[in-house]
Amino acid sequence: MIIGCDEMNQENIARRKPRRTTEIWKLSRENNTITALGPDGLIELNQLGAFLWLRFDGLHSLSDILIELGDLYPEVQPAQLQTDLSEFFSYLRSQRLVVSTWDPLEGVCMNKGRQPS
């Protein structure tokens, strides 16, 4: 399941377009890894993490990303890719480096104290 929600929400969640919360990051072109500076400090992402990070731009939906992952790793079962994506996304969210959806107006008007989704 994507980001640990029940089946009824799966379709909605798959349509979500995650957005990274920091633009202070760099790509190593030698080994295709990314280093990002988030609210809680530095984080290093490996090649797959970097691939996903570049797509957490608020334009790609999780389902689109999953399809791309399938093309990239045809030997891996789709269920496994979905699990990997879910775990990676949850990890970045726990580090406050990504939000699962972002509307430039609604998102920033969110109530104080309400955690970003």
Partner: protein
């Protein structure tokens, strides 16, 4: 019911979710000035600052419907421009009878583009304290003519755009009423004591739009009027820490010293910070500032390479900057320096010079901050992209956030720029892998 409601749109980037815990926030003083001009004309005014106020879109809609304004004013920077348009669409549906006017730095240079959006009725270019009251007369009282309102742009009946000449820049700034701070949630800002003592900038920096917005001639308030406002802010709102937010607070050093003398004479016992240019300040003035409660002085450094400083027409000498920073430190001020990169002619070598300079400053105890060069409207940079060897790679103004590369230079592509920006941010943080020693923390340090 409120006659005129001003709204500060929020920044569209999610970085603000966490940045607001660390980066300095200050009230939208320009809206405060507009509101006080409206009030002086005899109308009601209110301000909503969505940058800090606790409100989602639905709640905003309900508040605006309850206010039932006749005129809605939305402020725009380049970064908030698209959010202003999004808000305007929502507000047009919520209060269809209200007229919507956009003002601010972005639409001052993109007025026709803004009027291509049906939800925008008017655009006011440049300084608008006088024009906004005349527009309120027209909208609320059917008094006067749109053609007579300076700086106003609007669609005529045939759909074409009428663009009135911009107003003459106001010389007598002392004649303006103080900003309507009572309409702002001052307790929600980390730097609520923002005050403007003058307008205009004589600098010719290619990356800055200040001259195009406020003119190239300094227009300065009298020291007594400035200190009077400080005193009123202190007594009315209990503020003890002030931020003189002029582009160049020390534009005329003798006048800066007069302000300092007056602050001391009135025994206000306040602390404050300001921005300055190294070519408009001297040790005597820095000492006077320190004696009057100044704690932090921000210098625009931009680069550690003299060749690059000359190429961006910064008009300063690195040696002079070093001398003034040393003087500030010796006096007991905390100097900070802002940098920008990459400049059009920057190379890996000149960026190394900048890094070395930043390291040198850190060694002395000077704080630094860095941003990505961005071609904002009204700047020489934005008008001469091609001749400067720049390539625009991102036109989505939602991302003009000082961190996202939106241009590539002759020597650097977007990946290079991300790399050098991040390296410089880390250097500015002193190698500490945490965001959070920006100016808000500096304020906390000295309070």
């Amino acid at each position: 019911m409120t006659d005129v409601l001003f709204i500060q749109p929020p920044i569209p980037s999610p970085s603000r979710l966490y940045a607001k815990d660390h980066v300095m926030t200050a009230p939208p003083i320009a809206l405060g000035y507009l509101a006080s001009s409206i009030i002086r004309r005899g109308y009601d005014a209110d301000i909503i600052d969505l940058e800090v106020q606790d409100m989602n879109v639905q709640e905003l809609r309900e508040v605006v419907i309850a206010c039932d304004p006749g005129l809605l004013g939305l402020s725009t920077t380049t970064l908030t421009y698209k959010n202003a348009l999004r808000l305007a669409s929502m507000l047009r549906e919520a209060v269809p009878d209200a007229k919507i006017v956009l003002g601010g730095s972005h639409v001052t240079f993109h007025d026709r583009e803004a009027l291509e959006n049906e939800q925008v009725d008017y655009v006011l270019r440049g300084e608008a304290e006088g024009s906004i009251a005349s527009l309120a007369d027209y909208v609320l009282q059917s008094h006067g003519s749109l053609r007579d309102i300076q700086g106003l742009c609007f669609r005529k009946a045939d759909g074409s755009v009428q663009r009135n000449p911009r107003s003459n820049l106001l010389d007598q700034l002392d004649s303006l009423p103080y900003p309507a701070r009572h309409l702002l949630p001052l307790h929600m800002y980390s730097a609520p004591g923002l005050i403007i003592t003058g307008r205009g900038c004589q600098g010719r920096c290619i990356f800055c739009a200040a001259k195009g917005i406020a003119g190239s001639r300094y227009r300065l308030r009298s020291p007594s009027d400035v200190v009077e406002e400080v005193e009123s802010m202190r007594s009315a709102f209990g503020l003890n820490y002030f931020y003189f937010g002029d582009d160049t607070f020390t534009a005329v050093p003798a006048r800066t010293r007069e302000i300092c003398s007056e602050l001391i004479r009135r025994d206000l016992n306040i602390h404050w910070m300001c921005e300055t240019r190294v070519d408009t300040v001297d040790k005597e003035t820095l000492q006077a500032m320190r004696d009057a409660g100044c704690k932090i002085v921000q210098f625009g450094a931009e680069s550690g390479s003299q060749k690059i400083l000359d190429s961006i027409r910064k008009g300063i000498k690195l040696d002079n900057l070093r001398r003034m920073l040393d003087a500030a430190l010796e006096i007991g001020l905390l100097p900070t320096c802002s940098f920008m990169l990459p400049h059009p002619r920057d190379t890996w070598e000149t960026l190394e010079e900048t890094k070395d300079f930043v390291s040198e400053l850190h060694g002395k105890g000077v704080r630094t901050a860095v941003s990505v060069t961005t071609p904002f409207p009204g700047t020489y940079l934005s008008r001469h992209l091609n001749s400067l060897g720049l390539r625009l790679i991102n036109e989505d103004t939602d991302q003009y956030d000082f961190s996202t590369p939106v241009i590539e230079t002759t020597n650097f592509d977007q990946w290079d720029i991300r790399e050098i920006y991040m390296d410089m941010v880390l250097l500015s943080l002193g190698g500490c892998p945490t965001i959070g020693i920006e100016q808000k923390s500096l304020i906390a340090e000295i309070e």
